[in-house]
Amino acid sequence: MIRTPLRPLARILEARASGENPDAIERENLRIRHEQMRDASRGRAEGRLLILSVIFFCAFGVIGARMGVLAATEPAEPRAASTGSAILAQRADITDRHGRVLATNFETHSLYAQPLQMIDKERVAAELAAIFPDLNQDKLLKDFTGKRKFLWIKKKLSPEQKQAVHNIGDPGLLFGPREMRLYPNGKLAAHVMGGASFGREGVHAAEVIGVAGVEKYYDDLLRDPARQGAPLALSLDLTVQAAAERVLYGGMKLMNAKGAASVLMDVHTGEIISIVSLPDFDPNARPSPLVEGDASDSPLFNRAVQGVYELGSAYKIFTAAQAMDLNLVNNQTMIDTGKALRVGGFNIGEFQKKNYGVLSVEDIIIKSSNRGTGRMALQIGVKRQKEFMKAMGFMDYTPLEIVEAKGGKPLYPERWTDLSAVTISYGHGISNSPLHLAAGYAALANGGTYIKPTIIKRTGAPEGTRVMREDTARYARQMLRKVVTEGTASFGEVQGYAVGGKTGTADKPKPRGGYYDDKVIATFASLFPAHNPKYVLVVTLDEPTETSGKKPRRTAGWTAVPVAAEMIGRVAPLLGLRPEIEPGELAGITLTSN
């Protein structure tokens, strides 16, 4: 760059010649140079400002555009990764102890209508009524032509029905996906399963909720997504349950009984292998509960758990066991049952006014003497008997994991007098469910520990509470065995399984007080094999009558016992129990009374 000199010589000389001040020229030139410098720097600054403003404009423009885009788009989660496994929104399956399905889910469709979109309402109503016989054509047409904008027509459709509705081809008929609960085995274990229905319903999905049984008890667990649909394994055995239901149904019909119940329980783990209550129902189409009359007449009523009955002489063994456990008697102690027993102003008599005379404790059980156990109960006393009954679980509802269990609250006298003690000693005056009785017998069978019955599969035996000594339980089992070999339950013998048990026949109480003469509850509580018990089976028949003889027979020995024996013969092989020769009683272990 050529700079203009501040004092150009030509002009200086010219100025000097004309007498002017040459300094003015220098100042003038300096001023011009300063102005040029100022203009240049201003231009640069303006350029910078322009660039900066462009940058700012772009930045704010981008931010503004982004805000606009965010405001205008649908919100969505940023996708940084894909989840490992989709959450199963399904209700978990229920299986038996070997993993066979008892309850599962099935995808189906529901049918709803939007009458506003419907074209030919009359034809639709007519065709729907033809597909679903339970729908009323006139009512449908009224609904379609009325003010309603939406109505459910069917909650569950089979694929065939869905196709048929498709074929109507009306845009006002719409389907929504549904997940329904399916019990593939039908009536099997209906009372345990209970049933399920829809809770909150939307067009696209509906909540499946349990309404009874395990389904309701474990509703939260079955619906918990954290379990990832892991099935709930019950302690039931599908085959055993089916065989037990079959045998019990046959027995119920043969004995002309109104209802029947059976409980098969593992004595060491407390698991219920099979629990039956007849009549039963199909949980796929659960009937509605009775609105009037006796609830126990409904098939929904679970006799094995909810039905509390006075179960009669089957309790005698508990009295004998407690008396032996308290060292008041041993199994050979002689008790006079011939003498009249008068307690609280009541005479205690024997069945059919028999008189057995002097009997040993063992024979009292074998012959089922009311006076004998009554005398033992008086020796035990009210307080100790009550404590024992409490420990055996006879005074609380059973802890079985179905909602109905709480309905089976035992009935017992509020004032436990000597008379109550005597009647309770032979099973009157206290009402329990067959399940209570099974749990009590399990305590005798497993050597004296009370184990809470459960419907859930267990691994290993839980720790029970000791209610009696081991030898007491062993003597009690020997007595129970003799009831079958020598006593009232002679029909209960099943070759190879050494059944031991005690019968109980109790008159049914009238609703207004007093007892019926011709209506009984016949019970047989048994354990097998008696020398090394593995299972307890309780069979109860409601109002049985055995009519093969001249007079109708109602005692448990003629009704419940043969049914139980048949059931053991069917069920024990299925449980993998091999028939065994019963080991003989060793000489010298029998206690003598001297």
Binding site: R79, A81, S82, T83, S85, A86, L88, Q90, R100, V101, T104, N105, F106, E107, L182, P184, N185, G186, K187, L188, L238, T239, A242, A243, R246, V494, Q495, G496, Y497, G569, R570, A572, P573, L574, R578, P579
Partner: protein
């Protein structure tokens, strides 16, 4: 020197931008693929549930009992009874099966020895 630095930096920025762009799209493609597979797993599970339900339905004890009754002539199936338990000693040991044909003079069928194939076997091959 300085301009070289600028050029290298600019190239690095372009390269990194390209790499990030590619990674981004690859990730999205992978995510879409995973979701597709998850969907397929879900469908397979649903199908499996249906099949399991159908299996349980077809194997329900009532149906099997009816089927054994219908096919009693052919199958002769009865409920398991206690007397059907046996001992291992009661089961006969399977007799060793004599081979029906002893081949001691093998036949050459490959034709490797030349000439026509000779059949000198004392029987037919099973």
């Amino acid at each position: 020197m300085r301009s070289l630095l600028y050029i290298v930096t600019a190239l690095a920025v372009i390269g990194l931008a390209f790499w990030a762009y590619r990674e981004n799209y690859q990730t999205q493609a992978e995510i879409a693929k995973t979701e597709q597979i998850n969907r397929e797993i879900g469908q397979a599970r649903a199908r499996l549930t249906v099949l399991r339900a159908e299996w349980a339905y077809l194997n329900r004890p009532d149906r099997l009992r009816d089927l054994t009754e219908v096919n009693f002539e052919r199958l002769g199936l009865l409920p398991l009874r206690p007397d059907q338990f046996g001992k291992v000693d009661q089961v006969a040991f399977p007799q060793p099966i004599e081979p029906e044909l002893i081949i001691n003079n093998p036949v050459d069928v490959s034709g490797m020895t030349g000439g026509e194939a000779v059949t000198r076997g004392d029987g037919v091959f099973p």
